[in-house]
Symmetry: C2
Subunit: 460 residues, 2 copies
């Protein structure tokens, strides 16, 4: 049998996990692996960038799980600073450009993995390209921001967007001594939560000294004579002075290439795959990571949920399948955790608006509890909001905001959602209890008890 | 309809939860509630006693969720220092003794709740009743120990037993400045874990300066002329000097009364109930808390698992049922969490010996990971052991030992066990990921990945 050729486009979590897993299953005599990466780095934790910027992580290299050299040592022909600029699916080949020399060449494949990731949304605004305006999506972005902060230290930072990246970057800049203002378009920060829970994050951020401006529509980045950002202007006519501007508005799947080649994408522009992570309708093409849509098991539809943990799993599944094994990625329930300073933030399943959009009738309850037994020293507040389906009592979603241990508490709900449990079943769960770790009724169980009553009271 | 009479025997978690829930559903015009409690206190956290002794919790009163007066204010006729000494089931009445006056009287019931709790195992050894030898099962026990520590401060403590209470009391006494020696009969401390995992606890305790002596059979408590304990002697002929001795050998269901009345008990002596917590074969008698056996859903048998969190749930279920509502307690999966100083310890499901005893064929895997992303500051080691059934790949049990966040990590496995998930399904779980909270592959998922391979390698 002829040697099989695997081409991987994109050298971060999904792409290199796929390449590594395929290599584990098939040696170089059976499988030739070529991977293309536009940037300088591979297999790094983009999620770690805020902690590098904030100084908790000493250096960039700590975020790199595996360097290009390490991949090459495992017989993966890895080409960094090389961008794939065309997919020729009928001809089973890709055209790649060396970003240093500009030289282009075609590489043939038998199997193709697309792991092109996501790109930060950059609104087309005057000044958006100015010096001092930064995204934080890639390690190259992080390096540029870090260089800028070190070369031009300032006092005032404006963060645009109040999602995960926005609040994490706000914390990072506070840690570096900046006075931070967060401008965001929503009613409350953390639009991945319902507004009532986002309000708790809002209050906590303000108490940490972070200014948050809601319903703020950025219209322009003001610059000085040298083209450096000096302030951010909003539609309300306000100007927020800034020595540095960080964009955390969100990301979108980087799928222009794939769309040009006719591959199927969903409503958010992410590639659509089957359960083995094969692109729908294309036998020889797999895709994973931030460039795909994943099945939301609770809502029953696909969504774009860019997260390193999904990307790693996708890579593992793809690598198993292209390496001759068998694995599937059944979908997600929408779990995400974060923190801003000491406040932990978590969600899983559906928010109210998601449940409405999914056509579900539901009840919501919110309870206040503590992360440890109330009498245990350092007990911190924890608020849990829970959604349950009317009539059936099926758990639909949980949001948690609180002190230490609040974030990973959401995992209980994530597993219960995956199992399709009702809130009655959740009440009976045998969760770990000891005073340093939980009140005798875990806050998630307290919420479930209240949800059981609410379901009963709501009728059908 | 005549007013119904509910009698509750035992005024801690299960009994008073049942009384309170019944009262919530039925007012005093419909239901008369009488509760008998031998001790001075009601509705307290016995699990909190080590933290009161250790000084983290300021005072005893903080451990009391609801005082006798508060219960009485809610129309519960609560009689403290009153012990029920006979159950007359055919006559539907109980005989109670006032422990202050010695006076006895009969109280009739329509429905009876038994919540008599557990009592510490006290081996019949010379000196076991000496001054300075303490159990820590009830708040009265805790008060006696606390008084003793304050009146006769010493330097050396011996803890007998290395289960949850033993290790927690070891920590408490270290915090009070004692040199602590823990004597235990097993190969390793924490026999609720497999010995390999107990070995990790052993090493950590030694590094904290706690001396542990394994395979130690206590034969005698040596006393001075005034009858105060001065040392603990073992079968090996060793003597361990002690200014205070704490017994943490375990507890057994306090069911002598119930057995005398002919109620059914299991192999551990705990009462046997149906799923509504009604004593099997007895329409009008309910039982819950540390005096019952609970159904172990993984092993398919009943066990005695004395834990405050179960007791509270039992009380809630019993109170709903005796109050005219409907609730059930489906069983447990054997989750327990604890800590000794900064080391967190958790288990759920079956240990190797449990799985063997249950007639299961299984594989075990153990992995080393960290509680946060490896590069995040303060990342601490976390070891996860996982058992999975051969052939089916069904998850059977998880044990975790490690740094902050290790203990409650086990809840993920507890929910997965309840749902009957396979380790393949666990690998795909959508757990919260962000660098301050987890590596990109959560340690539980890493263990599950390894378990999947082990199941495949093991064949049928």
């Amino acid at each position: 049998m002829a040697k099989e050729r695997l081409v991987v486009v994109g050298g971060d979590a999904a792409g290199m996990s796929a390449a590594s897993q395929a290599r584990r299953l098939k040696g170089p005599a059976e499988l030739e692996i070529t991977a293309f990466e536009r940037g300088h780095f591979t297999s790094y934790s983009a999620c770690g960038i805020p902690y590098w910027i904030g100084g908790q992580v000493a250096g960039r290299d700590e975020l790199i799980a595996r360097t290009p050299e390490e991949h090459r040592a495992r017989d993966i022909d890895l080409r960094t600073r090389t961008e794939v600029v065309e997919l020729d699916l009928p001809g089973r080949r890709v055209r790649a450009r060396d970003l240093e020399s500009g030289a282009e060449s075609w590489t043939a494949y038998d199997k193709l993995v697309l792991a092109t990731g996501a790109r930060p949304v950059r609104p087309r605004l005057p000044g958006i390209g100015a010096h001092g305006v930064h995204g934080v999506q890639t390690l190259d972005d992080g390096r540029r921001l870090m260089d800028d902060l070190e070369r031009s230290p300032g006092r005032r930072a404006v963060v645009v967007g109040a999602g995960y990246i926005g609040v994490e970057m706000a914390e990072a800049l506070v840690r570096r001594g900046y006075a931070v203002t967060v401008l965001h378009r929503g009613e409350q920060p953390m639009a991945t939560l319902d507004p009532d829970m986002g309000g708790l994050v809002h209050g906590a951020m303000n108490r940490m000294g972070i200014v948050t401006v809601s319903r703020a529509e950025v219209t322009k980045i003001l610059t000085d004579e040298e083209g450096r950002a000096v302030a951010v202007a909003t539609a309300a006519g306000d100007e927020y002075p800034a020595d540095v501007v960080v964009l955390g508005i969100g990301v979108e799947p980087r799928t222009a290439l794939a769309r040009a080649a006719g591959l199927p994408v969903g409503t958010s522009g992410g590639l659509l795959t089957d359960l083995s992570m094969r692109v729908r309708g294309h036998e020889e093409v797999w895709a994973g990571g931030d460039c795909v849509e994943v099945l939301d098991l609770v809502a029953g539809r696909t969504r774009h949920i860019p997260l390193g943990t999904h990307a790693n799993k996708h890579g593992q599944v793809i690598g198993s399948n292209v390496g001759g094994g068998y694995a599937t990625f059944p979908g997600v329930v929408g779990t995400a955790v974060s923190k801003v300073c000491d406040l932990e933030i978590a969600r899983t399943g559906l928010r109210e608006r998601d449940a409405l959009e999914a056509g579900l009738r539901f009840v919501t309850v919110t309870i206040a509890s503590t992360n440890t037994a109330g009498y245990y020293p350092g007990a911190e507040p924890m608020t849990v909001k829970m959604l349950a389906e009317r009539r059936t009592g099926r758990l639909l979603g949980v949001q948690i905001v609180g002190g230490a241990g609040a974030a990973k508490r959401v995992d209980v709900a994530a597993v219960a959602l995956t199992a399709g449990m009702t809130v009655d079943q959740v009440v009976s769960l045998d969760l770990g209890y000891a005073p340093p770790f939980s009140p005798v009724w875990d806050p998630v169980l307290v919420a479930a008890r209240k949800a059981v009553s609410a379901v009963r009271a709501a009728g059908v």
